[in-house]
Amino acid sequence: MIDARGRLGPYLFLAPAILYLGIWIYYPIAKNFYLSFLGSDSTRTGDYYFVGLENYRKLLSDDLFHRALLHNLAWVGLSIVIPVVIGLVLAVLLVGRRGRLFYAAVFFLPVTVAPIMAAIVWGWIYNPTFGALNQLLDIIGLSGLSQPWLGDTGTALVAVNMIGSWGYYGFCALIFLAGLQSIDPEIYEAARIDGANSFQSFWSITLPLLRPTLMFVIVYTIIGSMKFFDIIYVATKGGPDNSTQIVAVYMFDLFIRQGEVTYAAAMSMVLTAIILLMSLVVIRNVMRRA
């Protein structure tokens, strides 16, 4: 390592990136925080004045916001139960198998599809008149289950989460696969000699050793579930009857369509706080290893 005493070198190399993040990330977050304490009589004029915690008090009594936040939390749960578990199972099945890279490449393909495109195509799959899903149910004799998947308040949230899951399990599988490949096969060999079956060795070797990777994926999933926007905006716009409303879409609507700038700022601040809190977990892990 080069001694830094009196040297400008490292700071010069860092300056462009840090300045850049300063203007486009740190300053906006600070400004957003500041805006969340302001209010105005007319939403269009932009004459703001200090209102203290008024916007946050409003959030506490805004039922739609509560529903939206609940949907975000449901999205966290669904995303951990469905794509993360599927990704883990796929990775466990693939590790050490011939052709694993081919399979992993195919599973990763949906990750490269733009979320807006996934939302459009799955919108057709769910379509009540020509949708592939209902036709498939017809073919296997379950036509009783046919329904307008995105149009029904009971099924819309899960249906729309399936779109997100489709674009996510391949990502999880790839990361788990890399994590699994870093586990020494001799450990499994030793366990086998000791008479462990494959379920036992998964439970007492794979899972503990995979813990850091698992941790990363789960935290990453939580953060992603807080900030996602594209799929809902395109597939349902939060509907029907707000059954898929999420915080990002609600906040976008408040800001762009209703001009409720400072209230929207408070709302995005809540998301930012949750995301930053979760990031601390990741950062602590990274710094420990750095």
């Binding site: 020509f130 890399a178 906040m251 800001f255 995301i275």
Partner: protein, 277 residues
């Protein structure tokens, strides 16, 4: 014998499961392609089948008559510029983090990591106001500038991780030969770091190409819209013209598909390096 049967059954089960997920992964992409070639009547008759009489004329109709070539060019310029600038800034910063030891290094690295998590949702309102006051809404520069910030932390993190693995001897030898920092970066680190740089490049390009949230707000003029925004704009006007909407999707997806097939290793490296290291 029983053991062999059991093993056979488990192999069949495993492959069956994998193949089901191969089908699930590919079906929507297949559907997008065939829908773009089918007439409305054929689509409603049988969504699964290949088109009887493929209607290729949707493509010239969309690209030329409807002016879609402009959105394609916008997306290429948009994703290309964001990728190049992100890489340049990332390389400089990562070099500092990996090679130097300096006061505030830890703190600055944490600041960068925070940027890794922050999303469009957290910065939308101030960024919009900032662009508005600088008269940059609905300009190419206004589209590019904030988008870079969203991927910059990832770039710095990825390149720092990689540069740290460069053998110290190599760095010391270059210094003894009288290399300045800039020369060391250009002549040693960048050539050694090429695999990581190409991984960063493809991922950054993909993200930007597919990004929607900020462009939706910043580019409201049709001449400026990248493909993602353009498709949604188009869909708003032709919702039920499925084959035309599918055609626009295919046009947006094919460049990514080609990139993905050509640079799979880079994709894999970029995605797993940040997570597992």
């Amino acid at each position: 014998m029983r053991n062999q049967l059991k093993r056979l059954a488990s192999a069949i089960g495993t492959h069956g499961f994998l193949i089901i997920f191969v089908l699930i992964s590919l079906f929507p992409v297949y559907l997008m392609f065939v829908t773009s070639l089918k007439s409305q009547a054929e689509l409603i008759q049988n969504v699964f089948a290949l088109p009887h009489d493929a209607k290729w004329d949707n493509y010239p109709l969309i690209v030329i008559q409807r002016g879609y070539y402009r959105a394609v060019i916008n997306s290429l310029l948009f994703a290309g510029s964001v990728t190049i600038i992100t890489i340049a800034l990332s390389l400089l910063a990562a070099y500092a983090f990996a090679v130097f030891d300096f006061v505030g290094r830890q703190l600055l690295f944490v600041l960068v990591l925070v940027g890794l998590m922050v999303s469009e949702v957290s910065i939308l309102i101030p960024v919009y106001q900032l662009l508005k006051s600088a008269n940059l809404l609905n300009t190419f520069v206004g589209l590019v500038l904030p988008q870079i910030a969203l991927g910059l932390s990832f770039g710095i993190f990825l390149m720092t991780t990689f540069f740290r693995e460069v053998p110290k001897d190599l760095v010391d030898a270059a210094r003894l030969d009288g290399c300045t920092d800039l020369q060391l970066l250009m002549k040693v680190m960048i050539p050694v770091g090429l695999p990581a740089i190409s991984a960063l490049a493809v991922i950054e390009f993909l993200w930007t190409w597919n990004s929607f949230f900020l462009p939706l707000v910043i580019a409201t003029k049709q001449e400026l819209m990248p493909l993602a925004v353009s498709i949604i704009d188009f869909m708003g006007r032709f919702t039920f013209n499925y084959e035309l909407v599918a055609t626009t999707c295919v046009i947006m997806f094919v460049p990514i598909l080609i990139l993905y097939i050509l640079t799979q290793r880079s994709f894999r490296r970029g995605v797993t390096m940040g997570a597992v290291k």
